[in-house]
């Protein structure tokens, strides 16, 4: 259905401007992909709650806000101003993106093993398009997900990470995405840093596009972090495509700490080959309206896939996690655990689909979603979806929704701990299982710190 609202037209006009601008460049196949994607988007239109996949998440606030792409290189950000958000330069290779564009000045990659690439997608598109072409936009479909289509239409920059066969990258690769106004007057960033409200800049949309290629037998850890100016209204629409070669071990972390006014829509699309091991850890703390899709296609035998998630929201935040695991071939296992903590008037959505194809015998899939509601007004809509077309499989799913245990609260209070601290401690206890599953030390330490700070703030 073609629904040319004025909002849609604005994005289409932005696209024409974007494509005409020679600077956005890239090889001709990229232009073709963008054209195909914008027609896909024009056809799909913005989703409404009539859409099964968007039933509980209205994107009307995103549609209405007059977001524009950033024109200028923003100034005012320095390595120092970002130091609290990096994960330690010695510990990680750090790539910083401002409004979706790679910033060499703010990045510090350090030395990586021979042949390992970690840098800007824009650079890769002009310097080494042959490395990019076989994969870019070939995994994340843009004919059914409007925001993937929109992102693909605006492909320009993001991270390009490529690990050659057999290489083991010990240092995690950290991709830090910072959103600002066009010209930030201040550098106060989300997650609790001081900054006077500054709405002088225009509201920016960015469409970061990441491509992570892990060759056969390679190993890598990639972390994406999202932050923004405090109170800033902006829209991040990111797509990350991941390809894990045979027997590759890939751990992907996504730490979403956008400003409390921001919109964040993301898709992680993982294509997994024979005997690979892939884990995704998706953590949501920030954002006003958040939708994440994590899709993994297990297209080989003996693959192990883990999808972990933690969402911790309050106030009027809305966070929607959709996951889909496609078991295409036999003898693979998937483990999925998403935990949610919802306070205030926040809303959560969890929709986990496991699709076991006809040939995927001996599939072993387990999915769990557990939710803790901290207030009467918080809401969670959770829905497991198992579609099984093979007959010799083991698939289980479980969902829980609960409140803090009154008996446990009393126990803690009877030891001198006040009510608020007791609630905080029990909430932390609920969430800490997910922290324990994080294998990258600087990420674990940062998240632990963030959770404790948040629980103290809430009390």
């Amino acid at each position: 259905m073609i629904q040319h609202s004025k909002e849609l037209d604005r994005y289409l006009a932005d696209f024409e401007r974007f494509e005409k601008n020679g600077l956005r460049g890239g090889p001709s196949w990229v232009h073709q992909v963008r054209r195909a994607a914008i027609s896909g988007f024009a056809e799909l239109g913005f989703p409404t709650t009539q859409h099964e996949e968007w039933k509980y998440t209205s994107v009307a606030p995103i549609v209405k806000a007059p977001f524009r792409p950033a024109d200028d290189e923003p100034d005012g950000l320095t390595k120092e101003s970002l130091s609290l958000h990096t994960l330690g330069q010695a510990a990680c290779a750090q790539l910083v993106f401002v409004n979706g564009r790679y910033s060499p000045a703010l990045s510090s990659i350090g030395s990586l093993p021979d042949g390992v690439k970690a840098g800007s997608l824009a650079t890769a598109l002009s310097a080494d398009p042959a490395a990019v072409e076989p994969h870019l936009a070939r995994h994340a479909g843009y004919h059914d997900h409007p925001f993937v289509a929109l992102n693909t239409a605006f492909i320009q920059d993001g991270a390009f990470v490529s690990i050659p066969k057999g290489k083991v990258v010990e240092r995690p690769i950290h991709l830090l995405f910072v959103s600002t106004h066009d010209r930030p007057a201040s550098t106060g960033l989300s997650a609790g840093f001081d900054m006077a409200q500054d709405r002088r800049g225009k509201a920016i949309v960015s469409h970061p596009r990441n491509l992570i290629l892990a060759g056969d037998n390679s190993q890598a850890m990639v972390i994406e972090s999202y932050i923004g100016l405090n109170n800033a209204l902006y829209f991040t629409n990111v797509v990350t495509e991941i390809v894990a070669g045979e027997s590759a071990v890939v751990a992907h972390y996504k730490l979403q700490r956008e400003s409390e006014e921001a919109f964040h829509i993301s898709t992680v699309q993982a294509s997994l080959n024979h005997s690979s091991n892939f884990s995704s850890h998706s953590i949501d703390l920030g954002g006003a309206l958040v939708r994440n899709d994590v899709n993994a296609v297990l297209d080989g035998q003996g693959i192990e896939c883990t999808l972990d998630g933690l969402y911790m929201v309050a106030g009027r935040q809305h966070v929607d996690n959709h996951t889909r695991i496609d078991h295409v071939k036999p003898h693979c296992s998937s483990r999925e655990l998403y935990k949610g903590v919802l306070g205030g008037r926040s809303k959560g959505v969890f929709n986990g689909k496991i699709y076991v194809h006809k040939d995927a015998q001996k599939t072993d899939a387990k999915q769990t979603n557990k939710n803790l509601l901290l207030s009467e007004d918080a809401v969670i809509n959770t829905k497991p979806q198992l579609e099984i077309y093979a007959d010799d499989v083991k698939c289980t799913h479980g969902t829980t929704i609960g409140q803090l245990d009154q008996e446990a609260i009393f126990y803690l209070r009877s030891r001198g701990i006040d009510l608020e601290a007791a609630r905080g401690l029990l909430t932390y206890a609920f969430a800490s299982e997910m922290i324990g599953r994080i294998k990258v030390e600087p990420v674990r330490a940062q998240l632990e710190h963030l959770l404790l700070a948040r629980l103290q703030k809430d009390s």
């Binding site: 446990a408 009877s414 601290a421």
Partner: protein, 256 residues
Amino acid sequence: MLEIRNLHASVGGKEILRGIDLTVNAGEVHAVMGPNGSGKSTLAHVLAGRETYVVTAGEVVYEGKDLLAMSPEDRAREGIFLAFQYPVEIPGVSTTYFLKAGVNAIRKHRGLEELDAIEFLAMVKEKMKLVEMDQALINRPLNEGFSGGEKKRNEIFQMGVLDPKLAILDETDSGLDIDALKIVANGVNAFRSPARAMLVITHYQRLLNYIIPDFVHVIFDGRIVKSGGKALALELEEKGYDWLKPEADLAQHTIA
């Protein structure tokens, strides 16, 4: 130290405590006995401040203060400790972690410096000896996967760390084998002092062979129907609780 006067309490509209009177002075150990369902745990929880039990009449004065007006945490800070009959399990929080929060809240309330991690661990090491507590156990998530005996020992260990003035032990002996019982009793006896008082709730006389009480009270249907010295416990062991029942009925009739 503690004065309970005509205490009535109900849960879900059902009256459980029907007029308890009890005075406990510093240095004393009082045993509270009675059959299952007579209201012993209810009394313990009401004293510790559990809000599901509603006090409908009576008063409790603790060290000159109105105990019933205080929050559970303030009661703990003022020196009341309850060893739970059924200690809760809290996955994700270790005993040491939550206990440090408790100790420092109590110390702050008492105008003492908060303990840092090192001071706290030194103190914990000392108190672990009280009930032969294992270090590995207290670093594990609170009571998760603990045996019944380990949970009870953990309660007494916490009592040692929190240093209360009035300790209420709710069936700390139940589910313990004789060796564990002796360890727990030793811990409790080491804790006895002229400045402290104890309310030892038990169903069986067995524990009182090791913790010798100064007074024994029998609860029946939410009332204390008989009080005496330690000999009363032996009498109960011999005769059971049934012989007290007519007295309870009688008491009921007199009031009615």
